[in-house]
Symmetry: C2
Subunit: 208 residues, 2 copies
């Protein structure tokens, strides 16, 4: 194992959040698990689980397996989740509203601390008794004041690229976008796409 001088393949990093999901469920049934159980649960091989984790350290015990709380803590550390993250929601249409009403983010340490939109009619609206939609004109000030590094982008596809570029200017480093468009951004910006149509089109290949 070596976390300092080796860069971890992204394909492994991508699996770590799934490990967390699995661990939180397995925790309900016991204090320990092992690579076989975890693998069966997630649909991966036991060897792959062990190989993945060994990239970051020696988290298991021979003969016993993994202590779930300990492994969870380690993966949280690896993914920089041992802290709270502030996010800004950019675009407050249908999806934006659903996001503001969704409790799953804050339950996992991700807090939407501001929401902006360009639609005058939405500005000032209070969602979920918690957050007030602000003008997108304030976005620079909001991002800088709160030191926000993650944005959720739920604007129309037609303005997604330019909006993303603006956010980056103000210090955003990671973007979770729901716009059905491929963003062209500097390589140091992390972008994740949520595009249900792409997921559906993937499914239909296997149907008939």
């Amino acid at each position: 194992m070596n976390t300092k001088f080796q860069t971890i393949p992204d394909i492994i990093v991508a699996r770590l959040p799934r490990y967390l999901r699995a661990l939180s469920i397995l925790r309900q049934k016991g204090e320990t698990t092992n690579s076989k159980e975890l693998g069966t649960f997630l649909g991966y091989s036991a060897a792959q689980i062990r190989k993945d984790l060994s990239q970051f350290g020696e988290f298991g015990k021979q003969g016993t397996g993994y202590n779930i709380d300990f492994l969870t803590e380690q993966i949280n550390n690896i993914l920089n989740l041992a802290r709270e993250w502030k996010m800004i929601l950019v675009g407050c249409g249908n999806i934006g509203h659903a996001i503001l009403n969704y409790s799953g983010f804050s339950a996992n340490g991700f807090h939407v601390v501001a929401a902006v939109d360009s639609d005058e009619n939405l500005i000032g609206k209070v969602i979920n008794d918690q957050i007030t939609i602000q003008s997108i004109n304030n976005v620079e000030q909001i991002i800088r004041n709160h030191q926000i590094s993650i944005a959720m982008l739920t604007v129309p596809a037609s303005v997604a690229q330019e909006t993303a570029e603006e956010l980056i200017k103000y210090g955003i480093k990671g973007i979770l976008t729901y716009a059905p468009i491929i963003l062209s951004l500097p390589s140091d910006i992390r972008v994740e796409y949520i595009d249900p149509v792409i997921s559906l089109q993937h499914i239909t290949y296997y149907l008939n």
Copy 2:
């Protein structure tokens, strides 16, 4: 190329919907494209684009590249998109509501023909002047009557597994689930996950 006796790696299938997204944008600028342009646009190598497409046929012309309309049609055929797909929405909370109000599905040939929920207070509610939320008790009848094979699952995590199992009994073959839980289902059922927390946790690995 051989589409009959070779099974195509899923990693290639997964890229095809992205090609469609790219093609629809490139189409606005011209009638043809080539592997280099497409690759640059998507962040893949030109060789990979050619290799991927060659799995399914010879869609390009030497010296010219690919006719965008033709290539789009071919990929649509490969992904079984040259038809309309009916879907049922199971769970009409926040995310369910956002889905019902989202036009991106029907614009791509995916039609939500029914929506069900277990909450008595929601039943009978009309969304978007189009669809009436029905009782989940009717789900079998709805799926069978409409011959629906795709479900969008937006129920709470605690009931996602059992709900999915029920849907499969009635003939559902593909599930797009928003529940933050790993479903354990027969291998002939196609499942795609949309889990924004997993996406965020992937992003944070690269931030600090």
